[in-house]
């Protein structure tokens, strides 16, 4: 790229000023741009940078004649294959255009800059005096690292080796061979520890086997102990059985002795004593009963002879029972019915006659004087059908009449049909659309106003160019977070370093104060002082021995005393001398520490300042002051974002208002046209919609009336149809009624007339039914009387009563006669029963007595009790049998006692009557019990241990911890190994890079530096410092090596310029031409060095374009002398 022309169209004080650098000359392409102070030289220099990289955000230093938004700078650029004429403005959109104002992509320029940003171009190929000074200081500050120096000299980057060292330190912290405190070593120790814990925690098969074996052994021991205990228990049991056996044998002998005095004979069966006692008791009772029965039979036989029988009375009683049992046909007693009928029948016959007269009167009233009641009255169901038919005919007539009346009324109400204009629907549609529409213009305008206020509020405090900052793109939030984190880290590092330095400085000050204080105390006699005093004494002695005069004697005496004094003090100050030496060591250490920490503090301060530069740049990008705190950046970004969003919302709202206004105008025009069609002449004024709504309301009312009339006409037509249908139904119903009355007395009556007689007809039907019921009751009473008389005819004959006697009289006489006959018969049967009962009792009790005798004989059969009465005999026998049972019980107990024991062993045990043996056996049993308890406890413990082991969590949790540890370690190992490999590659590449690049770059820099200093500095060299190198200047003919930080500021700046010149040559050789621009960098050079530098510029002009801005006329002259064909541009006056 070459700058052909720089157009300062509106920039700083310039308006339409062009600096024309012309075509590339055949010779050196060097241009000096001259302008006196305040001529705008620096402005033009800045214009060039702004053209290349865009106008910076925020306040622009050259926007004083023209506003920032009006600034414009242009250039004509020569590339390898074309000529570009471009313009740059401060606009947020399309800031780069061609000559005609058409947008040009930024990459047109950035491609020509080979990726250099503004800062890189500024510090590398666009230099001023300040950059030279800063660059020189940077080289001086980059102590002892040639790579860093060259790096700083060529690209402005620094710290590669330091960063690689930092990486290596991180890696070493993780893992370093034979290091015991590395993260990896510690992790391996932790792993070993946790693996030991796992081994303890897991229940592995071997441990399980052991626990299981313990359980088995404990179980075996328990079985053995149990067997011992069982044997001891059996020995004790045998002893107890033997003791019992002896007692039972003695008891059996006693029973046998008692039995010898009692009767012999078989043992009485169970219950024999009770049976014999019962038999004796029953026999006595039976004898008493036989005597009483015989006495009662004799008394009954005598009473029967005194009471004769009554046969006629028996006949009456039989007939009377027949009459009283007889029933009438309805199930009731005939005797009662007959007595009631005789009392009621005459009264009922009188009521029937009166009812006949009333029925005849009703028939006459209904059907006329000749009518018969039987003709007029009819069955109930027929009467019901006739009434239904008459009602149907009457109702149909009424329905027909009602419909006719409705038709007449509706026809009278129907008026003329109203007229609705054709345009009415169009008017209604427009108004409906307006009502439906979402356009509330006032609301939209209000909303827009609110949003405008919001947008203004959001933009408050953001400065006038906030929109430009937003348009050029806001940095991502993550970048600001990263910046804040970095700043915080740097600040913390600085604070920590400062604290450390302050501590060191305070320590140093206190040590120095202590030394000062000690200096005032007794002076410590050092070995050197003592030796010096001794030497003085010996010297004085030598002088005195040669002269032997009083003066030398005094001198010698003085030196002698001095030496003695020092020697004495020296002898007593050994400890003080040690302390002095210690203090000096401490002081030296403190001084070294303070120096070291001060250097660290300076580095931290520099790093913090660098970080703050990033913050300042970001602040500038966000339109904030450069010294804005980093925490404000995110707030600023959020505020910018909010302002942008508010502005966008306002824009949208304004557009909506405009659209709503347009739509409203369209609707007004439509409305005017429709109203015109409806005969209303109105303009599109504010009364338009009022008029339209009024007309629409009137048209709506007319439409409503038309719809109501059409509905009424439709209803009338329906009524007429219903009326015709009702007439047909009425005719059919009347025909049916006539047919139903054709053969009846009422055939001449209308339905209404027939229904009017319905009350009398119902009364007639009821009375007719009542007479029929009465007639039936009288018949039944007569039948009952007839039956009674026929049944009682024999009884009347026996009792000799009259044939027509009243039923009540007949029943009374018969009852008296029958009751007397029945009483005699009952008393005779009772006496006969008493005789039979006495005879049977005698027989029964005799049998009982005989049976008891048999039982007594059976019980005592075979017993040796012949002479004893039965009561005494049974007592002896019972006592004998009780003794026999006791003997059997003792024998059984003896058998049970021996059960389960070896008979021989038991016999032996019985035979052994040693009283101590039982105690010994019990003691042995206690021992066996204790042994078994212990075995059980062991077994329980073994099982418990196994159960506990099985129920433990095992090593799963520890395995989990181990896995987590391994996972973490693996991830860290991978990360650090990655860094290790990257570091290895980087160190190798860096070595090669230094080797490849240092040669040419150093030589080029050296040539430029030597030329610029006119040979005062004869070269550049490097010096190895550990793993790095430092840059050394070689001064003069004798080749004194001088470190950069020992050079003067001006020389360091020239060294920096030399490095830049070499770097520029290297850059354009790699990437192509790029203008090298300087702004009055020679004003601090003396004339020789300025001339040399200009000559170098001439050499650079052979390779590419060089532009030198200056306000020193003599430099212009120097340049003219040094460079053939130099182009000079005078900045035009404003």
């Amino acid at each position: 790229m070459r700058l052909r022309r720089l157009d300062l169209i509106r920039y700083g004080r310039f308006a339409d000023v062009a600096l024309d650098f012309g075509a590339r000359p055949a010779g050196p392409d060097v241009t000096v741009v001259y302008g006196p102070n305040e001529a705008g030289k620096s402005t033009a220099f800045a214009g060039w940078l702004d053209f290349l990289f865009g106008l910076p955000k925020g306040e622009h230093p050259h926007a004083f004649r023209f506003d920032r938004k009006e600034l414009m700078v242009g250039a004509v650029i020569e590339t390898q294959d074309q000529m570009l004429t471009l313009r740059r403005t401060g606009a947020t959109k399309e800031p780069l255009t061609d000559e005609q104002g058409r947008m040009v992509e930024e990459n047109r320029l950035t491609a020509l800059l080979w990726g250099l940003d503004r800062a890189a171009y500024r510090t590398r190929f666009s230099l001023n005096d300040q950059i030279l000074r800063d660059g020189g200081a940077e080289i001086a500050a980059a102590q002892g690292d040639l790579g860093q120096l060259l790096h700083a000299g060529t690209s402005g980057l620094s710290g590669i080796t330091a960063e690689l060292d930092a990486i290596e330190e991180e890696i070493d912290k993780f893992h370093k061979k034979r290091a015991s405190s590395s993260i990896l070593a510690k992790a391996k120790k932790d792993l070993a520890e946790i693996e030991a814990q796992i081994a303890d925690a897991r229940l592995d098969p071997r441990l399980w086997d052991k626990l299981q074996a313990d359980v088995a052994a404990a179980a075996d021991a328990e079985v053995a102990a149990r067997a011992d205990r069982t044997a001891a228990q059996q020995a004790c049991a045998l002893r107890r059985a033997a003791d019992g056996g002896r007692d039972l044998t003695r008891r059996m002998a006693e029973i046998d002795s008692a039995l010898a005095d009692l009767p012999s004979g078989p043992t009485l069966p169970h219950g024999a004593e009770a049976r014999l006692t019962e038999a004796l008791t029953r026999r006595a009772t039976a004898a008493q009963a036989i005597a009483a029965a015989r006495q009662a039979g004799d008394a009954a036989t005598a009473a029967l002879a005194d009471l004769p029988a009554d046969p006629d009375g028996a006949t009456v009683a039989a007939l009377f029972d027949t009459v009283m049992d007889a029933t009438f046909e309805d199930g009731q007693k005939l005797e009662a019915r007959a007595q009631t009928a005789a009392a009621d029948i005459d009264g009922l016959r009188g009521r029937r006659d009166a009812l006949d007269a009333r029925i005849a009167a009703l028939a006459t009233r209904i059907a006329g004087p000749d009518a018969r009641a039987d003709d007029v009255s009819m069955p109930r169901d027929r009467m019901a059908r006739l009434v239904t038919s008459a009602q149907a005919a009457r109702d149909a007539d009424r329905e027909r009449a009602s419909l006719a009346a409705q038709c007449d009324r509706m026809a009278s109400l129907l008026g003329p049909e109203p007229v609705v204009p054709d345009a009415a629907p169009a008017l209604a549609a427009i108004l409906a659309a307006a009502d439906r529409g979402t356009d509330d213009l006032a609301a939209l305008q209000a909303q827009a106003a609110v949003l405008a206020l919001t947008a203004r509020t959001a933009a408050l405090g953001l400065g006038p160019d906030w929109a430009t900052a937003v348009a050029t793109g806001l940095p991502p939030d993550a970048a600001l977070v990263a910046l804040a984190v970095t700043d915080d880290r740097l600040q913390q590092a600085y604070d920590a370093t400062a604290r450390a330095w302050h501590e060191a400085a305070e320590l140093l000050a206190s040590l120095r104060a202590r030394d000062d204080a000690m200096a005032d105390a007794d002076t410590v006699v050092t070995d050197a002082a003592l030796e010096q005093a001794l030497a003085a004494r010996d010297g004085a002695w030598q002088v005195h021995r040669d002269t032997l005069d009083p003066v030398t004697a005094d001198d010698f005496a003085l030196t002698l005393r001095t030496h003695d004094d020092l020697r004495d003090r020296h002898a007593t100050m050994a400890e003080a001398r040690v302390q002095l030496a210690q203090r000096r060591i401490e002081l030296a250490r403190a001084e070294a520490t303070e120096t070291h920490r001060k250097a660290a503090l300076d580095l931290a301060a520099a790093a913090l300042a660098d970080g703050r530069t990033d913050v300042a740049q970001m602040a500038d990008r966000l339109g904030l002051a450069p010294d804005s705190p980093v925490v404000s950046l995110r707030d600023r970004r959020a505020a910018l974002l909010a302002a942008a969003q508010a502005a966008e919302a306002l824009q949208t709202a304004d557009a909506a208002v405009a659209q709503a206004v347009t739509r409203q105008a369209g609707r007004d025009a439509q409305l005017v046209a429709v109203l015109h069609d409806l005969g209303h002449t109105v303009g599109a004024d504010r009364m338009l919609w009022h008029t339209a709504r009024r007309v629409a309301a009137e048209l709506a009312q007319s439409g409503e009336q038309a719809r109501a009339r059409a509905a009424a006409a439709q209803t009338l037509n329906g009524l007429i149809r219903d009326q015709i249908e009702a007439a047909d139904k009425a005719k059919a119903a009347n025909d049916a009624y006539r047919t139903a009355t054709t053969d009846l007395w009422c055939r001449e009556l209308s339905a209404d007339a027939f229904l009017a007689l319905r009350g009398e007809l119902d009364d007639l039907a009821a009375r007719t039914q009542e007479r029929a019921d009465l007639d039936q009751r009288i018949g039944r009473l007569a039948t009952a009387l007839d039956h009674f008389h026929r049944l009682t005819a024999p009884l009347v004959a026996v009792l000799a009563l009259a044939q027509d006697a009243d039923p009540t009289a007949i029943v009374g006489a018969a009852r008296l006669r029958a009751d007397a006959a029945k009483d005699i018969d009952r008393r005779r049967r009772s006496l006969e029963d008493d005789v039979r009962t006495a005879t049977a009792a005698v027989a029964q009790h005799s049998a009982t007595r005989d049976g008891c005798d048999a039982v007594i004989a059976q019980v005592l059969n075979g017993q040796d009790t012949t002479d004893a009465p039965p009561q005494d005999a049974i007592a002896l026998l019972v006592r004998r049998d009780a003794l026999r049972a006791s003997r059997d019980a003792v024998a059984s107990e003896q058998a049970r006692n021996a059960e389960g024991f070896d008979p021989a062993g038991l016999s032996r045990e019985i035979a052994d009557a040693d009283p101590l043996r039982s105690g010994l056996l019990i003691e042995a049993l206690d021992l066996a019990d204790a042994a078994h308890e212990a075995a059980m406890a062991r077994l329980t413990t073994a099982r418990l241990l196994l159960d506990q082991a099985l129920s433990r969590d095992g090593a799963a949790a520890l395995q989990q911890d181990r896995a987590t540890m391994l996972e973490t370690l693996g991830d860290a190992a991978r990360a650090q190994a990655t860094q290790m490999l990257g570091l290895m590659i980087a160190r190798g590449a860096l070595r090669r890079f230094r080797r490849d690049r240092r040669g040419t770059l150093l030589q080029a820099s050296e040539a430029a530096f030597t030329a610029m200093t006119g040979g005062e500095w004869s070269g550049l060299d490097t010096q190895q410092m550990g793993r790095t190198e430092r840059l050394i200047g070689v001064r003069g003919g004798h080749g004194a090596h001088v470190a950069v930080d020992a050079m003067s500021t001006g020389t360091r700046g020239q060294l920096y310029l030399a490095l830049r010149i070499a770097g520029h040559a290297d850059f354009i050789a790699r990437n192509g031409p790029l203008p090298f621009v300087t702004d009055d960098i020679h004003e601090t050079f003396d004339d020789d060095r300025a001339q040399a530098a200009i000559r170098l510029a001439g050499e650079m002009g052979q390779r590419g374009q060089v532009i030198l801005f200056t306000h020193h006329r003599h430099l212009v002259d120097l340049a003219r002398d040094a460079i053939a064909g130099l182009r000079v541009i005078d900045i035009p006056a404003a």
Binding site: L157, I160, D204, A478, D953, A956, A977, L981, G982, A989
Partner: protein
Amino acid sequence: MRFLHAADLHLDSPLRAQALKNPLLAGALRHASRSVLARIVDLAIAEEVMALLLAGDVFDGGVVDVTSRAALVVELARLGRAGIPAVMIRGNHDALLDLERYGPIGPSVTVLTAARPTLDLPGVAIHGIGFETRHVQDSLLPRYPRATPGVVNLGLMHTSLGGSPDHDPYAPCAEADLLGHGYDYWALGHIHQRFERRSDSCLAVMPGIPQGRSIRETAGGSVTLVDIGLDGIRATPLAVDLMRFATVTVDLAGAGDAARAISDALLAARPADAALAARVVLTGAAALAGDRAYARALVEQAAEALPDVHIETVQLCEVGPHTAPGVLADLAAMMQQDAASPGVRDEAAAALDDWRRALPRDVAHVLSDAVLDELMAEGRDAVVHRLARAAGRG
């Protein structure tokens, strides 16, 4: 009829997750596989299945921590008390395990072997042959019994089928042969990723591992409920895992709020019924380039407010360093050239070997020779990023 089919429980095999550095989470997942077993048993009881089918690798090894075996017995006994038998086979991991050695395993548990390959239940014949050696190179299918006529036939098999890239080939078996053997359902095990194979008459299901154990096992987490009815066989996966591993990629390019974008992505990836252990891959994160510590802090901050979301690792997906022309760019180019040279590769391989030897054996694989190129590329880019960042500061 209904069955529950699980495999590859790897009881008491630990989870390999950095997220477990969190002591609370570590406490909650201390016995993850036992908890998952309990969930499986709960599920079997709730679904009233006819049997629980365990298709191998119930344990992680042939010599177990006996407490692990006790834990299994306790859970299967609980299942047995609910009237549900468990039918299992041994897989390659627990091939040598002698379950009976440590006492009875309960009447409701049946281990199918070559000697006893079939268990008959009402209307169902369940066939299976477990591993008897760790390495079974040949197909076990020819040794399986013929299908029993008139009943439903289920088969349990531990097999790598036709092969799986992440699993060793064990008892290989062609899918067509398997599906054509005459069984109605094949309950498979071995491959930790779930899949189904179906023919007209047979369904074979690999249920996957019920609880993924590391970020390398992201496709499991379920057991399979098998319904056999008149309408055929249906297999339904049911989640049982406590924590699911997943890789969550977040594109930060254009994301205004990076933390929010990460948080949203994590939330979207979190399963409904389990915790999430995520490997977060950030793309388009130019601002974070090379600063892994900050990237990790950013991601952890984004995840902090999300319940049950834990961060495994954070990766920056970088497309290589972009540096302005100049010394650093030249240096980066030289590094790239050097990295490709045999000498540097040999030196790097030797250095990596040293490191690998220094590592505990269980994690030495992270530095295997196979990843040398990957590590070198990552390391090269990381260092260049750091140098560029340092230069940016300077």
